[in-house]
Amino acid sequence: MLELKDIVTHYGAMMALKGVSLEVKKGEIVCLLGGNASGKSTTMKSILGLVRPTEGSVHFEGKRIDQLATGEIVRRGISLVPEGRRIFGRMTVHENLVLGSYVRRLDPRAEIEQDLERVFNLFPRLRERTHQFGGTMSGGEQQMLAIGRALMSRPRLLLMDEPSMGLSPAFVDQVFDIIQEINGQGTTILVVEQNAAVALSVARRGYVMRNGLIAATDTAQTLLASEDVRRAYLGEE
């Protein structure tokens, strides 16, 4: 479904990605692990066209997308739950969700209402807070809103950047339950996580990044069992 081939991305003179190749198949949850500044977020940004790879290619559903504008990539079925949530704090929950469906603004209103209903069923808390400003909500609620907003474009591939960051442990479990539920409804998911234990518990496969390169890839079970990964990324000595 998604295929990155030898992606090289620069920030000015600094080479952030040095030839990253990875693949996500339809229906999978794949996680991308790695320490700080290993290139995880840059990989996400390169997929969405927020930074332009200087070499390599990105294919989505068989078509090359790395030269397209971000809006067009979103229109083709990829959406992002960004690191730090980045909801629109001066807009209401409802407005945030409607913005999420921006690429579908010409679709029948009934379909968009239907999607709103789906998000509210996934996150009943958001229904209660429809008219509250995003910026006044708790971190966990903002994370729900960020996920709901990303779902409003009906993505076939959902990119999630550090969804557990800054959340209480109980809430982290809840978020990953939701991730499995969304995946069960047919959305393919690529998730970047520092919290490797939780991420690998829901993912089928994983990639481990180090210094802008893919250092290892395997099934989630194997990675969880691997000494190297445990030592380097699960914080175990």
């Binding site: 969405l48 927020l50 504008a69 980045r86 629109f88 913005l99 474009s153």
Partner: protein, 315 residues
């Protein structure tokens, strides 16, 4: 002047102040909207306002030359306002496209577009001077709004023209507020001003939204130009400079980036100016206005309705 005398002219000054203030507010909307999406002050905005006044003047002259009997404001006003708004809107978009976008797209200094704005401002002033002449032009306002179209309440003279000007300014502001609050374009504008990158991730074409924001702000500036022409009846190619600075003051006073704040700031500045000149020499009018700017920047830089700078995340 005795205190009683001052009290007796104060209501009249308030009427002047509110009228002028409504026009300041209309111009201020352009500054505040552009600041919202780009975090830059469009210092060419005063010139767009000036060009709006020239377009209105040109249209009025054409209408007079055609010798159409009975210049009824009901159709003369739209005939002046619409071309001024559309052309100024297009001009604003053009300035953004050619003078600002190549600079801010490259990233880096926020100073570069600002300097480019001064360049655009000087360019437009001189373009108008060369093509229209340096002498002032006259609006034949009293052929549309005869001098005797006025009434008196408690000794205050209020002309129909003044009411029409204030109403148009307030109506346009209200229309803009509704647009920004309730339309898809409005939501896009707010999304871009809050978090440009995330707006792009929503699929919004950020460049187009910035361009349309310039169109809206500049169209309102053009309308303000026509209104000030009708009100003062004399226009010249440097009028955009001081009016632009006044409107910028109004935008800062109301809280830059805040749409309602721009209109409230405009009205307040107009009133402060005109009330002040009843107490001191009218020559000090600009001194009063710009003292307001300095005081606001010193003691409440976020303005009346503005948020503190910490609320502004990175662009």
């Amino acid at each position: 002047m005795s205190f009683v005398e001052i009290l007796s002219i104060l209501p009249q000054q308030l009427v002047f102040g509110l009228t002028l203030g409504a026009i300041y507010g209309l111009i201020a909307l352009g500054y505040t909207m552009v600041y919202g999406v780009l975090m830059m002050i469009n210092f060419a905005h005063g010139e767009i306002f000036m060009i709006g006044a020239y377009i209105g003047c040109g249209m009025l002259t054409v209408l007079l030359d055609q010798n159409i009997g009975g210049l009824n404001p009901a159709w003369v006003l739209p005939a002046l306002l619409l071309p001024a708004m559309v052309l100024c809107g297009g001009l604003g978009m053009g300035i953004e496209r050619f003078a600002y976008r190549p600079l801010y797209m490259r990233g880096g200094s926020r100073l570069a577009p600002l300097i480019s704005a001064f360049g655009a401002s000087i360019f437009l002033q001189n373009a108008v001077m060369i093509t229209q002449g340096a002498r002032m032009k006259v609006y034949m306002t009293n052929l549309v709004f005869p001098r005797d179209w006025r009434f008196e309440i408690f000794g205050v003279h209020i002309s129909v023209l003044v009411i029409v000007i204030a109403s148009i300014a307030l109506l346009l502001t209200a229309a803009l507020v509704v647009l920004v609050q309730n339309s898809t374009l409005g939501r896009s504008i707010r999304a871009v001003s809050e978090d440009r990158e995330m707006a792009g991730v929503m699929g919004i074409n950020v460049g187009r939204v910035v361009g349309l924001t310039f169109f809206l702000g500049s169209a309102l500036g053009g309308a303000a130009g026509v209104l000030i022409g009708l009100y003062y009846t004399q226009i010249d190619f440097v009028m955009g400079y001081s009016a632009g600075l006044k409107a910028f003051t109004a935008a800062v006073l109301g809280g830059i980036g805040n749409i309602k704040g721009a209109m409230v700031g405009g009205l307040l500045l107009g009133v402060i100016e005109s009330v002040a000149v009843t107490f001191i020499n009218p020559a000090f009018k600009d001194v009063v206005a710009f003292s307001v700017l300095i005081l606001v920047l010193l003691f409440r830089p976020e303005g009346i309705f503005g948020e503190t700078l910490a609320d502004w995340k990175k662009v």
